[in-house]
C-alpha cells in the first residue's frame, strides 16, 4: 500500500471525532431533483442532515469544475442530480450532463480521487423516497470512506 | 568582471582523504541545529530537481561527477513557488493577522557554483537594497549552501561566458574533489563555523588544514574546466557600457526575428535560478484567508496588464526583449553584472529553442560587426546539423 492511501485508511479506521459527519454538496436541477427533495420533505421522509442542496436550473448547468471546487474546499461527497433521461425540462440538458460526468468521474478515479465520493443520480419530481434513499446510501458510503483528505486544501 | 582565480581572501581550507561528504553534512547539521533538513540533486529521473536527502545516506562526492546539473534550479528553496505572506482571521473589529513561521533550517548539498552564484545575485536584489524582502532573508539566514565544484558541465552550460567558472567560489562551503581527496573551502562566516565544527571532529580520516600549494592547483584546475558553449556565447562586450548601448539593443531589428517563435510560456523564467518575479494574491475563505506570494513570469501575456486593461508589453516582442535585456543590459546597468549565470536551463527548457546565445549573438552585432554567418547545413538527412550556426534572415 502506498503512502497516499494512508490518510484515507486511517480516517476509515478512526474518524477523528464521534461527531464527524460527512458533508455532501448536492447540485439538484430545479424541475426534477429539487422538486423530489421538496417532496421528500412534504412526505416527512427522514434522511441524514449531511446534505446541502445547491439549486440549479438543470443538471446540464453543472460544470464539472464545480465538483472539483467542492472537493477542494473540503466537501466529503458531491451529488449531481437531474431529471431522468428523456424527461429533461429543457429536453436535452441531462444528456449532455450524462456524457460530461461519465468522463469527469472516470477522470477523477484515474487521478486517484475515490469515485465513490462523486455520485450522479436521476431523481424525478415524484421520487421523494428515492431522494431520501440516495442521501442515506451516500452518507453511509462516505462515512465508511472517512473525510476527504486527498483533494482538500489544508486550512 | 575580473577573471576568477578562485582564491580571493584567505579562508579556512581543509582537506581530508576519502570522498564521503557525511562528516561535512554532520558538521553543518550541528551548526544549524535540530530539525535541519538536507536537500541534494536527485538522480534517476528524466527531469531532475533537488530532493530531500537523508543524513546518513549522503552520497559520496564522486556521485555528482556522473551527473550534470539539475534541470530545475534550487531557487525554490529560498524563493518558493508558493509561500504565505500572511494569514488573517475575522473581520472588522476582531481581525487577527498571523505571520507564517520560517520553517526548518536547510542544507543545500551539492549545489553548483553557478546556482550558488545565482543566490548571490538574488541577495543583491532582494536583501541588498533599501527594501529587504523579509521572507527571503529569513530563509537565506537559515540555509547553508554546500557548493560542489562542477566536474561535469552540461551541454548547454556557459558559466564561463558570464564571468564564472565550474570552480567558481560561491556558497558557504565549496567542495573540490581531487582524486581520492576532498578540498573543502569556507566561503562565508557560516562556512567558517561549519569547517570549525568539521575540524573539531578530528579522528582518523578527519579533516586537516589543506596544503595551500595543492589547494591552489585543485581550484585552478576546477576553474579552468571548459564549458561546451562558453566560447560561443559572446556577451562580455555587453558589459562595457551598458547605459551607452541600451538604446541600440532596445531598438534592434533582431527582436522582430527572434520574438515570434516564443510561446509566451514561463518555462525559461521558472527554471531560471536568477528570475525573481512574483505575484501576491489574496485567497479568502469566508471570514479568514491567506495572502500568498507565487512565482510570476514577465513572459506571461498579462504579466503587466493593469486594472484599466492597459498592457505596456502587449506583444511577444516586448516581452521577449524585456527578459533578455533585463538579463544582459538592465541588470548590468544597476549592478554591473549579468543577471545570468550561464547554467543553460532556459536553453534546455525552451520548447522552441530560443537560445540566449542566439540572442547575445544578435545583440553583439548591434554594437560590433560580426563575421559573416556560416551557411546552414542543408539536408533533412541532418535532421539537425548540430553546430551549424546561426545564419541571418536579414
Amino acid at each position: 500500500m502506498s503512502v497516499a492511501e494512508a490518510p484515507e485508511e486511517r480516517a476509515a479506521a478512526e474518524p477523528e471525532s464521534e461527531a464527524w459527519q460527512p458533508k455532501i454538496v448536492a447540485f439538484c436541477c430545479n424541475w426534477c431533483s429539487y422538486a423530489g427533495a421538496d417532496l421528500a420533505g412534504t412526505s416527512r421522509l427522514h434522511y441524514p442532515a449531511t446534505v446541502r442542496v445547491v439549486r440549479v436550473p438543470c443538471s446540464g448547468r453543472v460544470n464539472p469544475r464545480f465538483v472539483i471546487r467542492a472537493f477542494q474546499r473540503g466537501a466529503d461527497g458531491v451529488l449531481v442530480a437531474g431529471c431522468h433521461p428523456g424527461d429533461c425540462h429543457y429536453s436535452t440538458g441531462n444528456y449532455y450532463a450524462r456524457r460530461r460526468f461519465l468522463l469527469a468521474r472516470r477522470l477523477l478515479e484515474y487521478m486517484g480521487i475515490d469515485p465513490e465520493r462523486f455520485w450522479v443520480k436521476w431523481i424525478s419530481g415524484s421520487e421523494g423516497p428515492k431522494f431520501a434513499e440516495v442521501i442515506r446510501e451516500m452518507s453511509a458510503a462516505i462515512s465508511a470512506l472517512g473525510p476527504n483528505r486527498k483533494a482538500r486544501e489544508e486550512e | 568582471m575580473e577573471a576568477d582565480d578562485g582564491t580571493r581572501g584567505a579562508p579556512t581550507m581543509l582537506q581530508y582523504s576519502g570522498t564521503s561528504l557525511e562528516p561535512l553534512v554532520q558538521a553543518a547539521l550541528r551548526v544549524m541545529g535540530d530539525g535541519t533538513r538536507v536537500f541534494a540533486p536527485e538522480a534517476g529521473r528524466e527531469v531532475r530537481a533537488f530532493a530531500p536527502c537523508e543524513p546518513g545516506k549522503v552520497p559520496a562526492a564522486g556521485y555528482w561527477a556522473t551527473l550534470t546539473n539539475t534541470d530545475i534550479s534550487p531557487k525554490g528553496y529560498l524563493l518558493p513557488q508558493t509561500e504565505d505572506v500572511m494569514r488573517w482571521r475575522g473581520g472588522t473589529g476582531n481581525l487577527a493577522i498571523e505571520e507564517p513561521e520560517a520553517g526548518p533550517p536547510a542544507v543545500l548539498l551539492g549545489i553548483r557554483p553557478c546556482d550558488a552564484a545565482a543566490f548571490e545575485l538574488l541577495d543583491e536584489v532582494l536583501i541588498g537594497g533599501p527594501f529587504v524582502d523579509q521572507t527571503y532573508r529569513r530563509r537565506r539566514e537559515r540555509t547553508v549552501l554546500i557548493t560542489m565544484a562542477c566536474t561535469k558541465p552540461g551541454p548547454a552550460c556557459a558559466c564561463d561566458a558570464f564571468g564564472l567558472s565550474p570552480g567558481h567560489r560561491s556558497g558557504d562551503v565549496v567542495v573540490y574533489p581531487s582524486g581520492g581527496r576532498l578540498l573543502v573551502l569556507a566561503n562565508s562566516p557560516k562556512g567558517e563555523e561549519i569547517l570549525g565544527a568539521l575540524q573539531a571532529e578530528g579522528g582518523p580520516g578527519g579533516a586537516v588544514p589543506a596544503d595551500p600549494g595543492w589547494a591552489g592547483e585543485v581550484v585552478a584546475a576546477a576553474c579552468s574546466t571548459p564549458t561546451p558553449l562558453g566560447e560561443r556565447i559572446l556577451v562580455q562586450g555587453l558589459l562595457d557600457n551598458p547605459q551607452g548601448i541600451a538604446g541600440a539593443l532596445f531598438a534592434s531589428k533582431a527582436w522582430d526575428r527572434l520574438a515570434p517563435r516564443c510561446l509566451s510560456c514561463g518555462a525559461c523564467t521558472y527554471v531560471c535560478p536568477t528570475c525573481y518575479c512574483f505575484a501576491v494574491n489574496d485567497e479568502p475563505r469566508g471570514q479568514s484567508g491567506r495572502r500568498v506570494r507565487t512565482w510570476d513570469s514577465c513572459q506571461f501575456k498579462d504579466f503587466l496588464t493593469m486594472a484599466g486593461g492597459h498592457n505596456p508589453r502587449p506583444g511577444k516582442l516586448e516581452r521577449v526583449r524585456q527578459r533578455f535585456l533585463h538579463k544582459l543590459n538592465y541588470h548590468p546597468q544597476r549592478y554591473g553584472k549579468f543577471l545570468c549565470v550561464g547554467c543553460g536551463r532556459c536553453v534546455l527548457a525552451c520548447p522552441v529553442g530560443l537560445h540566449i546565445g542566439e540572442v547575445a549573438e544578435a545583440l553583439a552585432a548591434e554594437i560590433a560587426p560580426l563575421p559573416a554567418p556560416v551557411p546552414p547545413a542543408a539536408g533533412a538527412a541532418a535532421g539537425a546539423a548540430g553546430a551549424a550556426g546561426e545564419g541571418s534572415d536579414a
Binding site: 502506498s2 503512502v3 497516499a4 484515474y110 487521478m111 455520485w119 486544501e153 | 546552414p376
Partner: protein
C-alpha cells in the same frame, strides 16, 4: 531495408529542397506574407520554428526527424496581420490547424496549408537511452542505412544508433496522419520511399499507445493518487502545455480569470489537481494528439496520459472512433439517447 533507408534519406533531403523552393515561390509571388516552417536550432539536435518572410530566409528551412516543435498554434497570432500565412505542415500540424478552424478561431481564408509527408520526429531522451548519454549531450541525429547516427557534443565521430523507429517520439509511433490530409497541396507526393514509409500503419496501435493509461488504471486508488500527486507536485505552472496546445485556443484562458477564480494561485496539490483537471477536460474530445503539451513541459509531466485516458474513454463510451480528428461537433457537444449509464 538498407537501400530503402538510403533512399529515405535522399527523399527527405529532396523534400527539404521542395519545401524551400515552394516557400521561395510563394514569397516571391507575394501569395503569402509568411511561411511557417522549421530551421536549425542554434545548438542541439532539433530544429526550431522558423518564420520565413523573405525568399532568402527560405534557404534556412529544414524538414525531417529533427523537426519536433509543432507550428500550428502560431497561425492563431499570425493570421491577424495583413496577408496570408503558409504552413509547411506535418500531419499533426494539419490536425492542429483544423482544430482551430473548427473552433472558428482560425480563418481558413488566411492560411495556406502545405502538407509535408512525415516519417516522424526524434525523441532526444530515447536517443540518449539508446546511446547511453545525457539527453542534452546530443549534438546531431542523422538517419543512415535504416538506423541513425548520433553525434555527441564535444566528439568528432558519430556513434551508431538504433533504427529510426526506435528513437521516434511516442506520438509519432502512434501517428495515423503521416500523410497530411485536407491540405491545399502536399509536397513530395512523388517521393516513392517517403510515400511508402509514411503510408505504413502506425507502429503503435491504439492499445499500445494507451499502454501507460492501462498501467495507471491498474494501480490501486492510493497508488494512482500518489502517482499523480508526485507528477503535479513537479508542475511549475508555466502554462507551456496550454500555450503550445492547438485545442487551448480561447481568447482569454479561464485559468487566469479572477472572477470567478476557477484556479487559485497557490500551487498546492488541490489547485494543481484543479489546474490539470480543467486542462484535460477542456481538451477532452478536442485533443488532436500532437503531444505538444508533453513535449514542451519543462518538468516532464506525462500530460498525454491524461489526454489519452479521455480520448480512450470517449472512444469506448461514445463510439467516436478517432476523437483526435476534429469534426464538426465535439463529442461533448452532442449526445446519444442511448449513451451508457455507468453509475447514474
Amino acid at each position: 531495408m538498407k537501400a530503402v533507408a538510403q533512399d529515405l534519406t535522399a527523399d527527405l533531403a529532396r523534400l527539404e529542397e521542395l519545401a524551400r523552393s515552394r516557400a521561395r515561390e510563394l514569397l516571391e509571388a507575394g501569395t503569402v506574407r509568411l511561411v511557417l516552417g522549421h530551421r536549425q536550432a542554434w545548438t542541439g539536435p532539433t530544429a526550431v520554428p522558423h518564420f520565413v518572410t523573405t525568399p532568402e530566409a527560405a534557404g534556412l528551412l529544414v524538414t525531417g526527424p529533427g523537426c519536433a516543435a509543432g507550428i500550428a498554434k502560431y497561425v492563431l497570432d499570425e493570421q491577424d496581420k495583413e496577408g496570408k500565412v503558409a504552413v509547411l505542415a506535418r500531419g499533426c500540424d494539419t490536425l492542429g490547424i483544423r482544430r482551430m478552424i473548427v473552433d472558428k478561431r482560425v480563418d481558413p481564408e488566411k492560411v495556406l496549408v502545405i502538407g509535408l509527408p512525415c516519417a516522424g520526429s526524434i525523441d532526444p531522451a530515447k536517443v540518449a537511452n539508446a546511446v547511453g548519454a545525457d539527453a542534452a549531450a546530443i549534438a546531431r541525429v542523422t538517419p543512415r542505412d535504416g538506423r541513425v547516427e548520433v553525434l555527441l557534443h564535444g566528439q568528432k565521430e558519430p556513434v551508431g544508433g538504433p533504427p529510426l523507429d526506435g528513437i521516434l517520439r511516442d506520438v509519432c509511433l502512434a501517428c495515423d496522419q503521416k500523410v497530411p490530409s485536407g491540405c491545399a497541396e502536399v509536397l513530395g507526393a512523388d517521393l516513392a520511399v517517403l510515400a511508402e514509409v509514411s503510408a505504413r500503419p502506425p507502429v503503435l496501435d491504439a492499445g499500445d499507445a494507451e499502454a501507460e493509461v492501462t498501467r495507471i488504471e491498474s494501480l490501486s486508488p492510493g497508488e494512482r493518487y500518489a502517482y499523480w500527486a508526485d507528477v503535479f507536485s513537479r508542475c511549475l505552472r508555466c502554462f507551456a502545455c496550454r500555450n503550445a496546445c492547438p485545442a487551448c485556443n480561447c481568447r482569454v484562458c479561464t485559468l487566469e480569470s479572477y472572477d470567478p477564480k476557477w484556479l487559485g494561485h497557490p500551487t498546492d496539490m488541490p489547485n494543481q489537481f484543479m489546474f490539470h483537471f480543467i486542462r484535460a477536460m477542456d481538451v477532452a474530445g478536442r485533443c488532436v494528439g500532437c503531444g505538444e503539451c508533453e513535449r514542451v513541459c519543462p518538468a516532464g509531466l506525462p500530460l498525454m496520459s491524461l489526454n489519452r485516458k479521455l480520448s480512450r474513454d470517449i472512444r469506448l463510451l461514445f463510439g467516436v472512433e478517432r476523437p483526435h480528428v476534429p469534426g464538426d461537433v465535439e463529442p461533448l457537444g452532442r449526445f446519444e439517447p442511448e449513451d451508457p449509464e455507468e453509475f447514474m
